[in-house]
Symmetry: C2
Subunit: 139 residues, 2 copies
DNA sequence: ATAATTCCTCTAGTCGCTAGAGGTTCAAGA
DNA sequence: TCTTGAACCTCTAGCGACTAGAGGAATTAT
């Protein structure tokens, strides 16, 4: 049996976060000692590991809920889980695409000025004020 | 003179967001008609464009505040503005690095299962439950 | 003049936590 | 057994950057 602190150390999920997950119903309420402290077993450890991994991959709490539902209905087809992963993948690719565009512009921004000038003629400020100066391939 | 709605259309910043920016002091409070409606001129349009552009680039409200301070003190050196941009650039690169790692794993996740199986033996669910199955180059 | 649209303020909600106050329980050493 | 100190408990409030909705007033177009 693990206390919430031990569970936290083993999974890397912070204590208040575990309690938060219980609050929002992502994990089922843990058993308690006579003194009202939470106690966890192996299954809870594994489930929290699953959640941690999914959160690290950027899945929303909602998406993770769906995945957990799937786990507890193993007779349902795998399609749903794959769909959730694909949506997530598309999302990540979109973010990458956007960030790379931003990287390019920020690079030009940071390079355009050697930092020696005065703010009145600063390229960074000018570029931010005038979208024309950038490649305009971001939003 | 523009109403808040016209300003919104021209800048692409939503009406409630403009009011929010005024609330938190990012833009100075607009002038009002006798009927208490906000009215804007060209300088406000340009400043909001600046803010929009900076937000699109991922600058925080705080960072933008600093940049605006710099604009209004054009005698200060450009160094500060460049620093802000560089920090932002480092941040973006870090995010890209992380996302690319995630992309790789999600790709494998989405590919591992053709969606025809049942959830009980779904690769997505298994992979999320067992970090061993992934390249472990993310968090 | 009237009707439709836009505007106003205000409060509360979103997401995924995080921080802090004030109090209780547990585990280990003396 | 007692004591100490760490870990636990609940509860409320806060973060960033908005977004939504209620209820009402002003503006604009017909």
């Amino acid at each position: 049996m693990y206390s919430i602190g031990q569970l936290s150390k083993r999974t890397g999920v912070k204590v208040p976060t575990i309690r938060y997950y219980e609050d929002v119903g992502l994990v089922t309420a843990a058993g308690r000692t006579s003194g009202n402290q939470r106690r966890y077993g192996q299954p809870e450890l594994e489930q929290l590991g699953f959640i941690k991994h999914a959160r690290d991959l950027g899945f929303s709490i909602d998406a993770i809920s769906s995945l957990i539902d799937l786990q507890s209905h193993p007779d349902r087809t795998c399609q749903d889980a794959t769909d959730i992963a694909r949506v997530q993948l598309a999302d990540v690719r979109d973010k990458i695409r956007q960030l790379v565009a931003l990287e390019t512009e920020l690079q030009r921004l940071a390079d355009g000025c050697d930092g020696d000038g005065i703010a009145g003629e600063c390229y960074v400020l000018a570029a931010l004020g005038d979208h024309q100066l950038c490649d305009a391939d971001h939003d």
